[in-house]
């Protein structure tokens, strides 16, 4: 609990707040246009454990002909997620690529050294996002997806990329957003929640049942 809090404060103070101020200066909230193209480059940030399963279950239901090619970003130490991605993509038969980035914080790592490893994985991710120029970034936590979203947000401001950042809150969250959700609500173009209670609390979110199948 404490390390999560530590990281939220760290990210917020060191990166997010100043960037948000710059973003407002650049008036980033200009009018967006619906993407007319038939296909969108999709970057999917894979978390770990339950987050991975939830994300891939959603990916399976996406129109794989339109959300293509797909780039997966995952921590280099997470072998079980890798298996799950390969399994999903075998079923989808689409074009995809997996990028593995250094993990920002290993279990039992000290806070001081984790500042540097977090920075390292942040810097490591920059060329991946810029090089791939995704049209959509999909993520659902945990905190490791924050750097990718921040980089995506920055490419909107400085490189005029038309990227849509989408955060899906876990079905496990009923009464409050996760810390990642609370941060990304300021950066994402769409925050999806799975319970009406959350929608009532956070007006900028979209409740999953608002859409008709």
């Amino acid at each position: 609990m404490f390390d999560q809090l530590f990281f939220t404060v760290l990210y917020t103070l060191l990166l997010l707040l100043p960037l948000y101020i710059i973003a407002s200066l650049f008036a980033v909230k200009r009018k967006r246009h619906a993407l007319a193209s038939a296909q969108v480059k999709t970057m999917i940030v894979i978390g770990s454990g339950g987050h991975t399963s939830e994300m891939l279950r959603t990916v399976k239901h996406l129109n794989s002909q339109r959300f293509t090619p797909r780039f997966y970003i995952m921590a280099d130490s997470d072998t079980s997620s890798l298996c799950k991605i390969v399994e999903t993509e075998t079923a989808l038969k689409g074009s995809h690529r997996i990028w593995r980035i250094p993990r920002s914080r290993k279990v039992h790592q000290s806070y001081i050294s984790s500042v540097f490893t977090t920075l390292y994985s942040f810097l490591y991710s920059i060329p991946i996002v810029i090089w791939n120029r995704p049209d959509v970034i999909l993520c659902n936590g945990p905190g490791t997806c924050v750097p990718i979203c921040v980089i995506g947000f920055l490419t909107k401001i400085f490189l005029f990329c038309n990227v849509r950042i989408i955060f899906i809150e876990s079905i496990c969250r009923v009464k409050s957003l996760s810390l990642t959700g609370k941060i990304l609500i300021w950066f994402a173009d769409l925050v999806i929640v799975q319970w009406p209670e959350l929608k009532r609390l956070y007006k900028n979110t979209v409740y999953i049942d608002e859409v008709k199948l």
Partner: protein
């Protein structure tokens, strides 16, 4: 309503109190009333290894497995810790579920979903001290059927947002 095969799961943590509650006289008596013949317990990292001396109920236990899907599939009743993942797995397999809140662990957001699911009557929720009563009174016919097509809805919502710039 009889539950011939009962599966108990504590997830990856330890919840010895649940395991020992299952095996106390009061709970066993209720399980026998419900015609329980096979009891399977997943004990996780618990220190307490269950033993039973009874000719009616046969007991098996294990610590962790890659997947407990088959154990859930086999069971007529699942008694589970309040972990979100397990609760969803059980409900999606249409099995009657009792979630047992670990009152030694407070403020755990993992239990948020279990609370909500029992509040909406998809499952029954209890603590270790009320478990026997919960087994006695659970009536699967009175629970709401749970369907989770959120993944599909979510994908559809993303598609609408990306290609049509609207969500409803």
């Amino acid at each position: 309503m009889s539950f011939e095969k009962v599966f108990v799961t504590v997830g990856t943590t330890q919840f010895d109190k649940l395991v020992s509650t299952i095996l106390n006289g009061e709970t066993l008596k209720v399980l026998k009333q419900k015609q329980c013949r096979q009891l399977a317990i997943q004990i996780g990292r618990g220190e307490f290894e269950p033993k039973i001396d009874d000719d009616q109920i046969s007991l098996t236990f294990f610590r962790l497995k890659d997947s407990i899907e088959n154990d859930i599939e086999d069971a007529d009743l699942v008694i589970s810790h309040a972990g979100a993942g397990t609760c969803l797995d059980v409900l999606e397999k249409k099995k009657p579920l009792i979630t047992v809140i670990n009152d030694d662990l407070m403020h755990n957001h993992q239990t948020e979903l279990a609370d909500k699911l029992s509040e909406d009557r998809y499952c029954v929720s209890c603590t270790c001290s009320t478990l026997a009563d919960a087994i006695q009174t659970i009536n699967p016919a009175k629970l709401n059927p749970f369907t989770n097509n959120n993944d599909q809805k979510c994908a559809s919502l993303i598609e609408k947002f990306i290609f049509y710039e609207k969500v409803s």
